[in-house]
């Protein structure tokens, strides 16, 4: 499904700020895998997702998605295969445009944009139904500007937009980290629901170890630009937060896990 082979990325190469973000990452995903990714700050979690999405070019290696080599494909072309939700709720939606306009833009992800009208009547009806599922009352506010919504509402909308046109792979980059605990739970529940119902293949970065264990069928831990732990199935289900912390300590050479991970 998704194959990362020896993917390398170094930022600011040759300068004093040189940062090896990915050091030859190998990863194979199967169809329908829902993988949670944990790791400390700077471990390369977000970078890996950005490399798959094509935000920056990779330095070396190969990324193959569903048989297509996308290693050097520009970001807007890869978008055809990918649904993305970002950490910052402001990044996933266009604030100055209406809810239905945002949905219509997402509905056309990967399709050739033409001089046909940007939104059709049937679509609007479909959006009402889809928005009802979110349970946030947005279905009555189709023509409201997205800028008027709360962070949680915007993130839920982004999630809907990412799955409106079924993606081959869903990339969730700490998409609940900027929300308050209650909203975060709502968005997370929604994520689970959408991934399960649509049988999506997904990569989800999170700082919350409990969520990482509870959700998905596979868990990977990253450290210093590579994957140091990869667990699936029964073994993953039986994991405890304490096990993960121990793994993490081993990897970082006895150093204790950072505060953000402890708190979760």
């Amino acid at each position: 499904m998704l194959n990362l082979t020896n993917v390398e990325k170094t930022f600011n190469k040759g300068t004093i700020n040189e940062k090896k973000a990915l050091t030859g990452v190998n990863l194979q995903l199967n169809e329908g895998d829902f993988v949670t990714i944990i790791g400390g700050n700077g471990a390369g979690k977000s970078t890996m997702l950005n490399m798959i999405a094509g935000v920056y070019p990779i330095d070396a290696g190969k990324i193959v998605l569903d048989g297509v080599n996308i290693s050097r494909m520009p970001e807007h072309k890869r978008a055809k295969y990918l649904g993305r939700v970002f950490q910052d709720p402001m990044r996933g939606t266009a604030a100055g445009m209406e809810i239905e306009e945002n949905l219509a833009l997402a509905h056309r992800r990967g399709a050739r944009r033409t001089l046909r009208w940007g939104i059709t009547k049937e679509e609007k009806e479909q959006y009402v139904e889809e928005l009802k599922v979110l349970g946030l009352g947005l279905e009555t506010r189709l023509t409201s500007k997205v800028g008027l919504l709360s962070g949680g509402q915007r993130q839920a909308l982004t999630l809907l937009m990412a799955s409106l046109q079924k993606p081959k792979l869903l990339l969730l980059d700490e998409h609940t980290a900027a929300l308050d605990p209650k909203t975060a739970k709502t968005v997370l529940d929604l994520t689970e629901k959408i991934v399960n119902e649509e049988h999506l293949t997904a990569l989800m970065v999170t700082h919350n170890m409990k969520d990482a264990i509870r959700l998905g069928n596979r868990l990977i831990m990253m450290h210093e630009g590579n994957i140091i732990y990869d667990v699936a199935g029964e073994e993953k289900k039986n994991l405890k937060v304490a096990d993960l912390l121990k793994k993490f300590e081993e990897a970082s050479g006895g150093e204790f896990a950072n505060d953000r991970m402890m708190l979760s």
């Binding site: 999405a53 520009p74 970001e75 807007h76 072309k77 978008a79 055809k80 990918l82 993305r84 970002f86 402001m90 990044r91 996933g92 939606t93 266009a94 604030a95 100055g96 445009m97 306009e101 219509a104 833009l105 997402a106 056309r108 992800r109 990967g110 399709a111 944009r113 033409t114 001089l115 046909r116 009208w117 940007g118 939104i119 937009m161």
Partner: protein
């Protein structure tokens, strides 16, 4: 008194013809969120191309309008190329094209101005055809063209490509993640914008019956001032059609104000100072109000003690 009315009518016509330029500026400034300084050059380019074709080559004045639009589009493409392919900041890319166009415009005309004295313009042709008075004819032609362009833009920005273009100005990261090549949308916006600016330059050239190398100087500031005025007058209206119309209305009001202050005895050379002041104030006032509100809302004891 009738002299006053005639000058007002002239100001309104002028406002409409310049309003076409303001629509172009609206696309880059409001929709794409960049101040495109190509405008000063592409406005003059439109006028120069038009004058050179009509006077020098005896081209039909209507065809000359189309040619001016086309070259405006090209000017926008140059700025777009510098901005999207080589990542030059939009404002600098615009300045480069604008400066280059000064020399290009002089080359096109061969001298610094061309009068359109004994040649036909679309206005003189219409006067001959319908037998109306020149001032009224200019006004009607202006209104027809402005309405056609507003309708055209309204349609375009409702299409899939047009929506993607608006989204590019709104949230570039998002629309790229949704599969749109933002280099293309930015380029397209700059081309359409400068096409309209070039057309406006040609229309103004035909109505004032001369083209001058300096005719575009300060056009961007006039455009911004008109947008600001339109926003103040019609900002409450939310529909996109109303927003486009407000750009032209702003332009009309700008030229009416200008005609009035000139009649009141202000030196025409001070007009640019006045325009710049209007734009500067319009940009400063909202910021000043926000800061003032923030200062006022502070209270040591918390929200209860206010």
């Amino acid at each position: 008194m009738s002299g006053f009315l005639i000058s007002m009518q002239g100001a309104i016509s002028q406002g409409i013809l310049w309003g076409v330029m303001v629509l172009g500026v609206y696309i880059t400034y409001k929709l794409l969120d960049i101040a495109d300084l190509t405008v000063d050059g592409s406005f003059a380019l439109g006028g120069c191309i038009c004058a050179m074709l009509v006077v020098g080559k005896g081209v039909n004045p209507f065809i000359a309008l189309l040619a001016a639009t086309f070259f405006g589009v090209l000017a926008g493409a140059v700025t777009g190329f510098l901005h999207t392919v080589f990542d030059i900041p939009a404002i600098l890319a615009g300045i480069l094209t604008q400066i280059a166009l000064w020399s290009v415009n002089l080359r096109i005309m061969g001298k610094s101005n061309i009068p359109l004295l004994k040649v036909d313009t679309i206005i003189s042709k219409a006067v001959n055809a319908f037998g109306m008075e020149q001032g009224i004819t200019t006004l009607i032609i202006g209104i027809i063209i402005a309405v056609l362009i507003i309708v055209g833009l309204y349609w375009f920005f409702g299409t899939e490509i047009g929506s993607a273009l608006r989204a590019t100005g709104n949230n570039e990261d998002m629309i790229r993640a949704l599969g749109v090549n933002t280099k293309f949308t930015k380029m397209l916006a700059l081309m359409i914008s400068n096409g309209l600016v070039g057309l406006s330059g040609a229309l103004v050239c035909q109505s004032q019956k001369y083209a001058d190398i300096g005719m575009g100087t300060g056009a961007i500031v006039i455009g911004l001032a008109a947008i600001v005025i339109g926003d103040v007058l019609m900002g409450k209206l939310r529909s996109f059609g109303a927003k486009l119309t407000s750009a032209v209305v702003g332009s009309i009001v700008y030229f009416v104000i200008r005609a009035i202050v000139l009649r009141l005895g202000m030196d025409a050379n001070d007009m640019k100072l006045l325009s710049a002041t209007i734009v500067a104030l319009a940009l400063c006032i909202p910021v000043a109000i926000d800061k003032w509100k923030m200062k006022r809302s502070y209270s040591e004891g918390g929200s209860g003690t206010c």
